[in-house]
Symmetry: C2
Subunit: 159 residues, 2 copies
């Protein structure tokens, strides 16, 4: 904590990242769950699947995209699979591997949920930042993330 880097202290930056992420989750999570009968906690996972070609991804790719370890992802997919939102498809070219795919139920729920959740988030964020600022923030975060987390680059769904 020296005098000159106080305004740009990387420790504070790390704190801000966590606080913003958690704060957003706390503000948007409960209403989301209530409105859509989906676990907000694995919303991120479902979004990544919904946006992937064929609505499916290899387990390891999905893990990387969701900031989960393989172990954590296995469990998350178990839960969503139990809920009927996600299925495991076996992978023909590599029999060790598996795809996680959105079920029709999962896809339909996400389709209904995404728009309103997105608006809700936008509404919250817009109280703090105007449109150009949001774009700037996303660009900066994107560069940071790409550096920290290069594995997230889009991966071939190959199948």
């Amino acid at each position: 904590m020296s005098s000159q880097d106080r305004c740009c202290d990387p420790v504070s930056l790390a704190s801000l990242l966590v606080e913003s992420a958690v704060g957003l989750k706390r503000l948007a999570g409960p209403s989301f769950e209530q409105a859509h009968d989906l676990p907000h906690q694995s919303f991120d996972l479902l979004v990544h699947l919904a946006r992937s070609p064929g609505r499916r991804l290899r387990m390891s790719d999905l893990a990387a995209q969701c900031s989960l370890t393989p172990s954590g992802l296995t469990r998350a997919v178990d839960r969503l699979s139990e809920a009927g939102l996600v299925a495991r498809d076996s992978c023909a070219e590599d029999r060790r591997g598996a795809f996680a795919s959105l079920t029709p139920l999962g896809a339909e729920r996400m389709e209904r949920a995404l728009g309103s959740h997105s608006s809700r988030l936008q509404e919250i964020i817009a109280e703090a930042l105007d449109q150009p600022e949001q774009e700037l923030l996303m660009a900066l975060l994107g560069r940071l993330r790409d550096r920290l987390h290069p594995e997230v680059a889009p991966t071939t769904p190959s199948g």
Copy 2:
């Protein structure tokens, strides 16, 4: 899904926040623990104490600053207290309340750890963003955080 498309989707912004926070933790955490024999997980808690006047804070204030629920904070302080890094001081003016305070051991460990950890983080972040960009990012995140999480404003330890 890299940083340039979907340039202003709030769902992606939320993901980026999480990915950046987790990515930073994963890159910096292990080396930190090894170097300083401190739990990286509660590093944020210790930093907030170290930066507070008198190196102490009321439990509830500390919880807010650390993005923890009261319940989570109680446990975290238990652990650090067990490790001798933090102590609970009872509060004279409100006998329900308690302060968490850095012990001399905790303060000394933090003093040694902060500088090098800060450099390590800086080094990682600098690979993605130059100095003005970092400042910009912090400013934007700060505004977002303040909106999401207004309780974090520094509170007087009044003791």
